[in-house]
């Protein structure tokens, strides 16, 4: 009932959930199919701080009662919790290894990627999808992506991540098919780096 007392502050979700979530899904599907490409979500949304529109749209499109969600310290506030519980009905978990999705509002201070479920050898799909909200998808240090979905190679410039992030991510390539899939969000834009992508810098 504590959340209910804040009911008047609860922000709305997608205006027209059926077409809006379909549209957002197609953007994230295109982003996952062509790693490193930046797509814009065209939905009208006023999410609770600190979530950006793309981050919030991803949550409303992909999360429900089947997906335990882990929030980093920056995203973990009462308003975000209440908003996710109300619109997605997703369990919010404290342990990184219990999460199917993770939402990072401050990825520079995030825990190691391999703290999240990587799937098993037989079922690598039972792994986490990590949503990283960053200040920009164009102004960061460039890394080069290669792999499925990329014709030759593609440059990717996410800002606001720790210096060691791509080194750690690169170490995880040896674990394939186990691993985590990354979705970057910034403002209304999103991009993805699935586990199949080789990152070089």
């Amino acid at each position: 009932m504590a959340a209910m007392s804040n009911g008047s502050a609860l922000r709305p979700g997608l205006r027209d959930p059926v077409p809006d979530s379909q549209q957002v899904f197609r953007r994230v599907l295109a982003a996952m199919s062509e790693p490193g490409t930046v797509r814009d979500v065209a939905v009208d949304l006023a999410p609770p701080a600190p979530l950006d529109r793309a981050t919030a749209a991803l949550c409303l499109t992909l999360l429900d009662f089947e997906t335990p969600v882990w929030l980093d310290a920056a995203a973990d506030c009462e308003e975000v919790r209440a908003w996710l519980r109300f619109h997605c009905g997703c369990p919010l978990v404290e342990e990184t290894d219990a999460a199917r999705f993770a939402v990072m509002a401050a990825p520079a201070e995030m825990p190691a990627l391999d703290a999240f479920p990587l799937g098993s050898e037989a079922y690598p799909d039972e792994s986490a999808t990590v949503i990283l909200q960053v200040p920009s998808l164009e102004a960061g240090e460039a890394v080069t992506l290669r792999g499925p979905g990329i014709e030759d190679c593609r440059e990717f410039r996410a800002a606001g991540i720790a210096g060691s992030f791509w080194t750690r991510r690169r170490e995880m390539e040896a674990l394939f098919p186990q691993g985590v899939d990354l979705v970057f969000a910034s403002g209304a834009s999103l991009a993805a780096v699935p586990r199949s992508t080789e990152v070089r810098f």
Binding site: R26, L29, D64, E66, Y123, S127, G149, D181
Partner: protein
């Protein structure tokens, strides 16, 4: 609505019928399938289990492909459905009508006009473009199933990349027939990792999967599996150094459009051994004839109505 020109060309988008959620499936099911599709794209060729729903047609009629299409399709999409290359056979017509009715989307027979193409057992002859999505209906997703019936074992074989048994099977073809006799559902390796069953497409179509600019999604409804090939992903048909992979060839050309480079169906025309070969891809063949190409058995242009 049902009777007016079922296969006579493209149908514009119109309001979906009341009483259904958009594209039939409920939103929670779509979310579950969408998450499975994303994992499938992230692990090319790997079969992701999903909670396949009961659909208003029996398993074996493309329920996997329909559930994938229903989860990705939007109001702005244009849908093409083919069954063995043809737009006007019963499976293709009924699936196209299903989505015209429950989603109100535009449909087409022209390969390049479609944003989503659902297929049963063929890849169109017209080269697919970036941004298009090809959805395959899959009866048996597990390439090792006839060699190892236990799911727990085939899972382990995929985990350990233990695919020797499939090479043995192809080698047995060579030992018995002198060549690899497998002509459809020909096993491939995706991105050098997972062994994948391309659904029963003829091996003629296998090279079209390799580095295709389109996204390819595979749905198996009865077996409850989804898998995917992202664009620009290497897909290699298994073979041997001394028996390289080859596709079928025909001595004839298409009797209607004269095409010598397309997959041909054999049609028996009488009970005295008469036969002709025609393109399996009806859109490709029809458009070639429109452009003036003719084959040896083409009806004269004035009288053609079929």
């Amino acid at each position: 609505m049902a009777g007016s020109g079922t296969s006579a060309g493209p149908d514009a988008a119109r309001p979906a019928e009341d009483g259904y959620n958009f594209a039939y499936l409920d939103e929670q099911t779509k979310r579950m399938i969408r998450r499975a599709i994303l994992k499938a794209v992230a692990i090319p060729g790997y079969q992701v289990p999903f909670g396949s729903r009961e659909m208003p047609l029996p398993f074996g009629w493309g329920t996997g492909g329909i559930q994938v299409t229903a989860s990705i399709i939007g109001r702005d999409d244009t849908l093409k459905v083919i069954d063995q290359g043809a737009d006007d056979t019963v499976n293709a017509v009924s699936i196209r009508k299903f989505f015209a009715r429950t989603a109100g989307v535009a449909t087409t027979e022209r390969t390049e006009d479609a944003t989503i193409l659902q297929t049963r057992h063929r890849i169109p002859e017209t080269r697919l473009a970036a941004g298009q999505i090809l959805v395959y209906q899959v009866p048996i997703p597990e390439p090792l199933r006839w060699l190892e019936p236990r799911e727990a074992e085939t899972r382990k074989m995929h985990a350990l990349e233990e695919y020797g048994v499939m090479h043995v099977r192809l080698y047995e073809d060579i030992a018995r027939f002198g060549h690899i006799a497998t002509s459809y559902d020909y096993p491939v390796r995706v991105n050098g990792r997972y062994l994948m069953r391309p659904s029963p497409i003829p091996k003629f179509d296998n090279p079209k999967m390799d580095r295709s600019p389109a996204l390819q999604l595979f749905g198996a409804g009865r077996e409850k599996r989804i898998y995917a090939i992202p664009p620009h992903t290497g897909v290699r048909s298994l073979d041997f150094d001394d028996h390289p992979f080859e596709v079928q060839k025909w001595e004839d050309v298409c009797a209607l459009c004269g095409s010598g480079g397309s997959f041909l169906d054999e049609i028996v025309t009488d009970d005295r051994g008469g036969r002709m070969f025609v393109c399996s891809d009806t859109d490709y063949c029809g458009r070639r004839r429109e452009a003036g190409h003719t084959g040896p058995a083409a009806p004269d242009p004035e009288g053609s109505g079929a």
